[in-house]
Symmetry: C2
Subunit: 232 residues, 2 copies
DNA sequence: CACTATCCTGACAATTTTTGTCAGTATGCT
DNA sequence: AGCATACTGACAAAAATTGTCAGGATAGTG
């Protein structure tokens, strides 16, 4: 089991690096010869790990997440499939595509026999009347949450008055058919929820923020008495 | 890579069997000695596969699904997390628990560094006003879809009239804040959608059904012109 | 262009891991 | 008690992995 283990660790070693890594560097790290590194990389690639090698440069791993073998029970796998299907129907094009890829990947990994079990378990028809159109892009918001990038929001409030605010995006909240973004509003110096369907325009500032005790997501959750039940 | 492969196949071999399988049987199947089987099983168990061995009986695998190592990109993993969170908030207690377990399992499989990326991406507050209470159990329906078990439904239609029908549950559909069950209604000999919040009682008949060309999910989808966009 | 840094491959012996054999113990079932 | 089976340790046999060496190929650079 030594080799299988090392393969996993090599991926980990490659993960999250900006610069290419040479075979020599890897050989050094794991105390193996370069020849073995080449063999390991070859095997990783054939099992689907997106490593790119370039002569004269080194190895780069596409930004990806390598999960070790895992066992799920039927419920967990059903959550995965159901969840991906919900996301596919209720977010935007980009995520919908990813959701489908995810479902396909997982389905393909199952045995023939098991695949049927998860046929048609869930199906989703987001009724157009319930789903208000967005002027903005869901994925942009998601990325901003992930990167902790401040956004400038052109927003129409409940009375339809347009405002422009700088916010720190903290989380996305799904309320029935409506998506909201929870953010720290720099104008009001407080937490605010913004409906995605009321956002007119989102401008990326490129400016990143750090969580402070006052502006962190956890603070908001605590203040709302949300401890575990709803928080992810 | 031969061993790692065989380990995976052994799990597959064990999967979906009612009777215990002896080491001898496995040894035979894979052309290896029993000693090796014992070693393989030991290693599988230490990597978390839920195999139970009993002296005098053989091996049994808890009903579970073993996924091989897989790579996901950031979007796919986000779909997984987001989806599980949605399921956790929008279904019932049982699935909610499974969703949390799923999220924990996947998080634990990620490296320290990556774990942070998926912190607080999404958070869900199912507003109680939008979520109508159910008299029945979501998980029961899910299981019936999976098993293809006919159900007897006490249902209140739009005018509030109570009816009792035998249906073949085909799929669960999430429409905004409302869940529906799509089924083939034996009373009307046609497809019908039933809102979960209008179901008064669900009786399990124990009777299983086979899809026929007339009653299959695919037929319904085709008739609705749903081809790919919404189907899972 | 030549040069460097690197990826990549084949062959084969050295090394390490896996496997089989054997001998024995432990445990659940009838 | 007797049987069927899981399980373990020791050690030699077999197989896989690894290192070494001797190349070839290719991207980037002066």
């Amino acid at each position: 089991m030594k080799r299988a283990d090392r393969l996993f660790q090599i991926v980990n070693f490659l993960q999250g690096r900006r610069m290419a890594v040479t075979a020599e560097r890897i050989a050094d790290e794991f105390d193996i010869s370069m020849r073995t590194v080449y063999r390991d990389i070859r095997d990783l690639i054939t099992t689907g790990v997106p490593i790119n090698g370039e002569a004269g440069v080194g190895y780069m791993l596409d930004k990806s997440y390598y999960l070790p073998p895992m066992t799920f029970d039927v419920e967990e796998l059903e959550v995965l499939m159901l969840g991906a299907a919900m996301v596919s129907s209720w977010t935007d094009k980009d995520m919908s595509v990813s959701a489908r890829t995810l479902i396909k990947k997982v389905r393909n990994a199952l045995s023939e026999r098991d695949r049927e079990t998860f046929e048609g378990i869930a199906l989703f028809a987001p009724p157009s009347r319930a789903r208000l159109p967005w002027a903005i892009n869901f994925s942009d918001l998601r990325k901003a949450v992930r990167k902790k990038e401040k956004l400038i929001l052109d927003y129409a409030d409940e009375q339809g008055r347009a405002t422009e605010r700088t916010i720190r995006p903290l989380s996305l909240v799904f309320m029935g058919p409506v998506w909201m973004m929870l953010g720290w509003c720099e104008l009001r110096s407080d937490f605010r929820n913004f409906r995605l369907d009321r956002m007119q325009k989102v401008t990326h500032t490129g400016e990143l923020f750090e969580d402070t005790p006052e502006t962190a997501l956890q603070t908001y959750l605590d203040s709302m008495g949300i401890c575990d039940g709803l928080k992810l």
